[in-house]
Amino acid sequence: MGSSKLGADLYLAWRAAVVHPLRRLLDKEPQGKERFLANYGPEGLVPTTPRDKAMLAAAGRCISCGLCDQLDGQLGAVARGEYQGASLLPRQYARSSVELHRAKAAIEAIDPAAYRAGEAVCPTRVPLVAIAAWLQERLARVLSFAADEGRRLPPSTGC
């Protein structure tokens, strides 16, 4: 028992002190952020930037009252099955970059400036115009990581 533990410890020490440092020096595999992106970018999981955090905090102020939906200039401009109102921006689309590509048809079709009227009446001042522009930019980031890896995200299913 004692000798096998000693053997295991020596093996771990060998791996930590020699093998891993050498591999890091010689290996051409990307490290850090690049490796993260290589692993998760194709799935739509992109790094969260300070701007993303600011937007998510702003989207979190939504109380789902639906007032912005009543002044939504996009209704009718985007296919009904793809898009059901401005309140989806902070409540649903902003939630997860992994699922964002499913709303591709809606997000690419919306015009951020069309949310000014809805934004003005929001009781909690959710910045819909900024969130719409950010979602378009975030979607482009998600899609570009997937494209860089030559992988296709699952098709949009409507939302």
Partner: protein, 463 residues
């Protein structure tokens, strides 16, 4: 419905006789009251609030003995209901205004007048109206929008509840069954019949938003008439319809339906699935304010603590402007938005409670503009409230719902020592302490009355 927030963003200092902060029904009443006195009035609001989300009813007080087993209670008259509420809750605004209750008919008359007849109230000597809600419950109220109050169940008869097949929110069978059961419990002499129409015939029509449905009905009400005719059972005396009869004023569509079907028609009050009555009320008030010459401004108010220190800023600070981020990293703190001075003889605080943003809780409860002390049941939040402010128990105590600014009989907000913070400052509506709208049943009707009185007080009258 294209008109959102009316007026313009704050761009410079504001000078007016009376400045109202808050644009819900209380703020609108205060502004209109001051305009009637010939004052120059500016109304500053951040956004829409609870009025735009309301049911379209203006309730004053429910029957004190109303309960699920006896929904209409003892069927007292409205005046008796208000007095009972004032007696039961000594810190309720009705209790504070007890000496001025004789002015109520005049105040409610102003609401009807200012709305061009779209708002109306039952006489104080009569009992509350009773309407079916889209949730299948009964709601009593002394006043509200005409299209909703037409559905008063006291009219009796066999009521056809119109719904849309394929639409989960408007199940005619379910609503009619609820109405039949509740009418029996409440002792109302009315029957119920389902009118499940095929108005929504496309497979994706369920996804239509209330506004789109309302626009469709407004454009071609005959199509709705035809689908109702196909589903209408014999012997129906009147119809209750979803609150979707037009995007603005439902009166033209109602008149069309009544003429075509030969039956009295009414709308149900608003629900989360169809918030149009609340939205219509908000837009009606804003249109009336604009027509009355009230300066409507979009902005946020802050103060050092009194009327002299009141300032306003433009509504949306550019904190999320992409120019403040370089490749996603924050580069600099955005500059604070410019704030502008307010010069006013008097200020009316009508900022509402939690939805309107008049009361906030960030560690302690605080009033958001003047940092007035927030009172619950006579106590003032010392920093962290002892005990829970909310309860998950059905019928449990909800002290948070009664939180607000304590005022004297002239509606002047009180400081911690019980004296008015500023003799030129008045408060009204949901920001007032003591009214729990869920438990006390006094909502927009109370807000209108306190708003009007605060507006008059700001002009140096009343009290």
């Amino acid at each position: 419905m294209s008109v959102g927030l009316r007026g313009r963003a704050v761009e410079g200092s504001i000078r007016a006789d009376v400045v109202v902060i808050g644009g819900g029904i209380a703020g609108a009443a205060a502004a209109l009251a001051a305009r009637r006195k010939g004052r120059q009035v500016a109304l500053v609001r951040r956004a829409w609030g609870a009025t735009a989300l309301s049911a379209g009813l203006l309730d004053l007080a429910p029957d004190p003995f109303a309960s699920p087993a006896q929904p209409l209670g003892e069927r007292r008259d409205v005046r008796g209901c208000i007095r009972a509420l004032a007696l039961r809750s000594p810190r309720h605004p009705w209790s504070l205004l007890a000496e001025r209750l004789e002015r109520l008919p005049a105040l409610l008359g102003r609401a009807a007048e200012e709305s061009g007849g779209r708002l109306r109230f039952t006489p104080l000597e009569a009992e509350n109206r009773c309407v079916l809600t889209p949730l299948g419950t009964l709601k009593t109220s002394a006043g509200g929008q005409d299209a909703v109050l037409r559905g008063d169940l006291h009219h009796g008869g066999r009521i056809g509840v119109v719904g849309f097949a394929r639409h989960p929110a408007w199940d005619a069978e379910l609503l009619a069954a609820s109405l039949a059961e509740l009418a029996t419990v409440a002792g109302l002499r009315c029957g119920a019949a389902a009118v499940p129409t095929d108005y929504l015939d496309r497979i994706d029509d369920y996804a239509l938003r209330p506004l789109q449905l309302a626009a469709r009905i407004e454009k071609d009400p005959d199509r709705l008439v035809q689908s109702i005719r196909r589903a209408l059972p014999p012997g129906v005396d009147r119809l209750l319809l979803p609150p979707l009869l037009g995007t603005d004023d439902p009166a033209p569509v109602l008149a069309h339906l009544e003429a075509a079907l030969g039956l009295p028609c009414a709308e149900l009050p608003a629900a989360s699935t169809a918030p149009l009555p609340g939205l219509r009320l908000q837009r009606l008030l804003e249109a009336r304010l604009e027509a009355a010459g009230v300066q409507l401004l979009h902005g946020e108010a802050t103060s050092d603590g009194d009327v002299a220190g009141l300032r306003v800023t433009a509504p949306l600070a550019p904190i999320l402007d992409p120019s403040h981020f370089d490749e996603g990293r924050a580069t600099a703190e955005p500059p604070p938005p410019p704030s502008h001075r307010v010069e006013a003889v008097a200020v009316v605080l009508a900022t509402g409670r939690y939805v309107g943003g008049g009361i906030r809780r960030n560690g302690r409860l605080r009033e958001s503009v003047f940092d007035l002390p927030v009172a619950i049941d006579g106590g003032i939040d010392p920093g962290s409230w002892p005990g829970s402010l909310t309860s998950v128990e059905k019928g449990g105590e909800q002290p948070a719902f009664r939180a607000g600014v304590a005022v004297d009989r002239q509606l002047r907000p009180l400081d911690r020592d019980g004296t008015p913070r500023d003799t030129r400052l008045f408060a009204c509506g949901s920001v007032l302490a003591g009214n729990d709208p869920a438990r006390d049943g006094a909502g927009l009707g109370l807000s209108w009355c306190t708003g009007w009185l605060a507006g008059e007080a700001a002009c140096g009258e009343g009290g």
